[in-house]
Symmetry: C2
DNA sequence: TCGTGCTGACTGAATATTCAGTCATCCTAG
DNA sequence: CTAGGATGACTGAATATTCAGTCAGCACGA
């Protein structure tokens, strides 16, 4: 499938390194088919962002929700830790996400989609926090959620550029969850 | 001056989006002069990153150390908040840093330098934390520092891709400083 | 007149994009 | 059931565009 190939290539060469011809070859289709489906290069990028999002959501749903339905804090921890897994899929997703984030600084078209995806993701984490501490007001939960997801992006960038081991990144995000929940619980 | 124009353009289009012809136009010089001075595109990039670095160091020194020498917590806050200033200099610096981080995912050569710069930065923040809470053990301070700097990178990415307002980013990082210091102070 | 700083038109290779046409499939009138 | 027509996924060669890098030469101070 074309989108899978695109995610693979972006993770390997970056958004800017993505060549339509290479993508076609990787996907085993013709050059023209890419344009038939996506209009232009920017269309490929937009579609890939969406694809990555959906895949991450599906992935999260499969690996988290099934288990600890009873323990909301475990669900929160698992959800965030999921991004620090050394599997091809997760690494690919994180790399592509980081690339898209970096590209969005210079590409107005990507910004809207990325901002929306971020908003949704923040909201989901805020909901998980609210599940742990139902008494906390929504805006406080959202604040904590934004910090946690932004931290996750920062740690992810360091992990992928070999600035941090996976274990260290996991420990740091767990510590942050502790801290945020503690602070919220004390209000 | 060519370097200033390059910094401006990198902030606008990114390292990857920097066009020699565009740089020449922005600097008000000819295409060929760029090559006369810098040999090739990579040379331009190297010189510009050095230029940006020097400027950032000067900037930090000027705006933080001079003032609140007496109040270590204010120094910590000011240092981190400095990255969320909507001035050309800061924006250019943050953008370049984000570009570097993103590029390092695909460029092994960049990794070593970036990792070292990150290590130094983390250490400096850890020292600032230690100045606020001298009783805290070094590894705990470093842990908090890594979380704060990684969070800062994450928030910076969102700010620059218009996913977050400057005020919101500032509020979030201040909240994180509060949280980390509180948690450390309670041990 | 020589050297140095500089110009800007130009080139070639890499890429993006287009387009005329093929092929399999499904629908429908006879 | 079946010829033929409509559809849409797909191809790949042709064309357009983009850019880093080159080069012949101008201007001017020493």
């Amino acid at each position: 499938m074309i989108m899978e190939a695109a995610a693979r290539l972006i993770a390997r060469r970056g958004v800017r390194g993505l060549r339509i011809e290479e993508l076609a070859a990787e996907a085993g289709v013709s050059n023209g088919l890419i344009y038939y489906h996506f209009k232009d290069r920017a269309g490929v990028l937009r579609a890939t962002l969406e694809f990555i999002n959906n895949r991450a959501e599906r992935y999260t749903a499969e690996h988290v929700a099934a288990e600890h339905l009873a323990d909301p804090r475990a669900v929160l921890e698992q959800t965030l830790l999921l991004e620090f897994q050394d599997t091809a899929e997760v690494r690919e997703n994180s790399t592509a996400w980081g690339e898209l984030r970096a590209s969005a600084m210079f590409d107005v078209l990507l910004r809207a989609d990325l901002a929306e995806a971020t908003r949704v993701w923040d909201g989901e984490v805020a909901d998980l926090i609210a599940a742990v501490l139902p008494a906390v007001p929504g805006d406080r939960a959202l604040e904590a959620a934004q910090r946690l997801t932004a931290l996750l992006e920062g740690l992810s960038g360091r992990w992928l550029s070999e600035g941090l081991t996976l274990d260290r990144a996991r420990a740091l995000i767990l510590g942050a969850i502790d801290g945020e929940l503690d602070a919220l619980g004390r209000v």
